[in-house]
Symmetry: C2
Subunit: 318 residues, 2 copies
């Protein structure tokens, strides 16, 4: 008899899930579209039936001891998803309770936001093994973060702590999806880089840039990386500016939380030292003396495709 | 037999100390000049002898169970004071060890920075009783902060966490004493207010302002408060700008740590609602929706003269 956990990653478009063994190996995995019609109950029924079907593929006798879920606007304390702008569910959804109804024999069902889940994954299976204080940064559409303090995820008073993407870095700066201005994620994320690219194209009137041939809605951080590799100056400047602001924000986070390390995850981190090296330089330049040369900035050791599932499953590992 | 604790507050000029009973009452108190010659050992000998002499004033049979110390650049983990710019001690001073040598019978000696000590005082004897997640903000020469998370002070990986005063709020902004630019404490502190006042005097060429009659080195936040009460527009604008930036920074802190409340302490807070009300407005305006109308911003309930001693003593209360 082996003990297994399940990790579920609920995204705006698709929901991915996997059955994970005690070594962090994903034995079975699958994906269904996330409900578009707001019908949580039928969506959870499908999800549960898919997971059970995956479980039946596993030859060895087994039991699922826990199900961990990563989702936007998830509240760990309450087990809910609350007003998630990218999901069709209205208001506050008691997600953990609904999942427990489908998996009555499972001991532990827990939910948190995707960046917190990634932090758990990094601590359990990635580069943060053995660390007690670190910060996970996920760069995608936005900038997510998970703060681990004394070996525990930081949830704060209401379960929603760890939103480094929403600290103000440019007073009266760019519009944020949350309604405020000048937040970190508006500059330092895949989307933020595309915004920076277009500001720079406009500033330099750079119609000869490699970035000038795609519309705003189509350009990706990967395009910018490729153009930078190909010597495009605008693209290279995007990386410099992104790294400058991110490094400065990481320094602010160090001043507050004094972590041992940051782990960076997500599409833009595929650029490796084109982003990480200048981030470290900018962070070090912005640190107070007694924090200098102490804090590591590392790429996540989790595989892109596995991280969300592993992270969610790590939530329920004892 | 009663159990007592000692609180010591080491400032750049004076060191204050008190003997505190289990109800948070300061039974005896005193003060000596902080060493100016860098001679830690003779300074600690004097401090210990003064404390022992105070103890002998107490009629009831008693024992000192712990000594808590608040000091700039104190490292709780190591029990040291490290490179404190306002103290004459060089390098790293093993302060806790030196105090233990003088008080061999005392069970617990601990040190932390003054803002962390104030946070402990607020939790033990002030407005944060029963709270698990709150942030103490002390406004003085700088801006100190103590983050309490799950009922514990946040120290981070190296013992120096909680420096909200050194997050960047104005990119490339005012010179900070730490060598960086645009940190929160350069705007939101007693000193920051004086700097803002002089920028505004210069901007408006306001030689008719009540603030225009004192040199830069003499103006205080109390003068600015009095002038604002007397209808001086520059002084009122200082409060508005200070509150704007502080409120925005508190919002960033909420996004990271999701506290139940902030407690504000220090000279500028004597202005009461002239500062607190606009800070709340600015914070609420800068918060993401799901944090709105949840987080309290309150004046500290600790008495100005008692806070540092009580806070330090609270460090060693079980």
């Amino acid at each position: 008899m082996i003990n297994l956990t399940v990790g579920v990653d609920i995204g705006g478009t698709n929901s991915k899930y996997g059955i994970v063994d005690s070594h962090g190996k994903i034995l079975q995995r699958g994906s269904i579209p996330t409900a578009k019609d707001g019908n949580v109950k039928s969506y959870i029924k499908s999800l549960a039936s898919e997971i059970k079907s995956l479980q039946s593929n596993i030859k060895e006798e087994n039991t699922i001891t826990g199900i961990g879920i990563g989702a936007p606007n998830a509240n760990f304390y309450k087990g809910t998803i609350e007003d998630a702008p990218n999901l069709s569910f209205n208001g506050t959804v008691p997600f953990v309770e609904l999942m427990k109804n489908e998996f009555k024999e499972v001991e532990k069902v827990a939910i948190t936001n995707d960046a917190n889940a990634a932090a758990m994954g990094e601590m359990m299976y990635g580069g943060a093994k053995g660390m007690k204080n670190f910060i996970m940064i996920t760069l995608g559409t936005g900038l997510g973060s998970g703060f681990v303090i004394n070996g525990e995820l930081l949830y704060g008073a209401d379960g929603f702590a760890g939103e480094l993407g929403h600290i103000t870095v440019v007073p009266e700066g760019r519009m944020c999806g949350c309604g405020q201005l000048g937040h970190l994620e508006n500059y330092c994320s895949a989307t933020g880089m595309v915004r920076t690219a277009h500001e720079l194209l406009a500033h330099h009137n750079a119609s000869d840039s490699l970035l000038a041939n795609k519309p705003f809605s189509k350009l990706t951080s990967k395009d910018i990386y490729q153009a930078a590799l190909d010597g495009d100056e605008v693209a290279q400047q995007v990386f410099e500016l992104t790294a400058d602001i991110l490094g400065q924000a990481l320094a602010s986070a160090v001043h507050i939380a004094s972590p041992e390390a940051f782990f960076l995850f997500g599409g833009p981190i595929a650029a490796g030292n084109m982003i990480i090296k200048p981030v470290i330089e900018s962070m070090e330049n912005s640190l107070m003396n007694h924090f200098r040369n102490k804090v590591k900035v590392l790429p996540s050791k989790l595989k892109m495709g596995d991280a969300a599932i592993l992270g969610a499953s790590a939530l329920v590992v004892k």
